[in-house]
């Protein structure tokens, strides 16, 4: 068993977790996922324990990857059918380089062993030792990012729902802004285009981590996606559905003129 593999080679959910295997599958299918590595739970625990050989193994493997990194939990049971550890297990954005990875892995490991996480485990009947696998990926510095549901998760209607804002997508996911709202039909035609109220953007900072930046007044209500970008998102939705099946929940980002797929999972809150 390999404790650290390129994301594209992450095949076994029991070793690298569902998130890593899902992203690896997306890469194998040619989807535009940022390159990265999958670290097994025992390797992350060894690093957290201060095992210097394990730290060296991580630094050596990840050294070839362009930083900064997004470091996310891919704990073995975190995306179970009946439960989701979203919000319990930490994601660290803009970890500057391989030297800072051990500390990032420690933080993520402890987030899965926090009081909040264990309370959740007790509540959903998964009171067992977590195996905290982790995904390390190059972090794009996006101009625009957000989420796309290939089916409307509120009404269940057969239409694409896109929510977008400036900077990193965490501003949308964390509800820091009222995002721009778009509805597309299954042919990609725009049905609805509603500007949000985007007063802040989350940006990476050079020393690591992110900062909440106040946006210029002219950006607050200006739409952050144009027709060409909406068409690219529609194409991405089609490709994700072709690969993974219907009813997908995507996180995406436009950086340096390229569209990146950051996450592709099943919608969990679809309307009837």
């Amino acid at each position: 068993m390999s404790r650290i593999v390129p994301l594209k080679a992450a095949l076994d959910v029991a070793i690298h977790g569902a998130k890593a295997v899902g992203l690896g599958q997306a890469l194998r299918d040619g989807l535009p996922v940022p390159e990265g590595f999958a670290l097994s739970g025992p390797l992350v625990e060894a690093v957290t324990s201060g095992d210097e050989a394990a730290e060296a193994e991580v630094r050596a493997a990840v050294g070839s990857l362009a930083g900064p990194f997004a470091v996310r939990s891919s704990a073995i049971d975190e995306d179970g059918d009946a439960s989701s550890f979203a919000g319990q297990h930490l994601t660290l954005l803009n970890v500057p380089g391989a030297a800072e990875l051990p500390e990032a892995l420690r933080e993520i490991w402890w987030s899965a062993n926090s009081d909040a996480a264990i309370t959740y485990r007790q509540k959903v009947g998964r009171f067992s030792r977590p195996s905290v696998a982790v995904v390390v990926q190059t972090l794009p510095a996006p101009e625009t990012a957000g989420v796309l549901f290939t089916r409307n998760p509120v009404t269940g209607a057969d239409e694409r729902l896109i929510e977008a804002s400036w900077g990193l997508g965490e501003a949308v996911v964390a509800g820091l802004v009222i995002p721009d709202h778009f509805l597309l039909d299954r042919q990609g035609q725009v049905r609805e285009r509603r500007p949000g109220y985007k007063t802040v953007a989350i940006r990476p900072v050079a020393t690591g981590g992110t900062v909440e930046e106040e946006l210029a007044p002219d950006l607050v209500e200006r739409l952050c996606l144009d027709d060409a970008q909406l068409a690219a998102l529609h194409q991405l939705a089609l490709r994700c559905e072709a690969v993974h099946g219907p009813d997908r929940d995507l996180e995406w980002a436009f950086a340096d003129g390229r569209l990146h797929l950051l996450q592709c999972r099943a919608i969990t809150t679809s309307g009837s």
Binding site: T48, S49, G50, E52, W110, N113, D115, I118, R121, Q122
Partner: protein, 137 residues
Amino acid sequence: MRGAPIDVLQRVPLFADLNPDELAQIALLFKERDFNQGTTIIQEGSGGAAFFVIEAGEATVSIRGTPHSTLGPGDYFGEIALIDEGPRMATITAASRLDCWGLTYWDFRPLVEANGVIGWKLLQRMAMMLRDARAQQ
């Protein structure tokens, strides 16, 4: 270095009677966990995930919003909820930057089950807390 430094654990009353080999084995189970000043480390009422030993810094203990005591290097906290799998009995907040070594439930329980010396000391501490609680009634 892997695990907690032996000299840190030697200062902890819970481990005072263990021999160096036993201490070295236990030290391997601990993982570093540091907190910034003001961080709530444990929230009263929450489930319990880990037991902590303080290496450096200070933490305050409050119960139902009332300040109770201050913890410093060599003190430990968080063991009760790990024993009964019940809710945390107090809120612990980092009063300064706090350098700790943590032992999760998954390692704490087998450790106590396998080590009668530690189990006995935990019993003594529980008995003392029970007497204190009765005395305050």
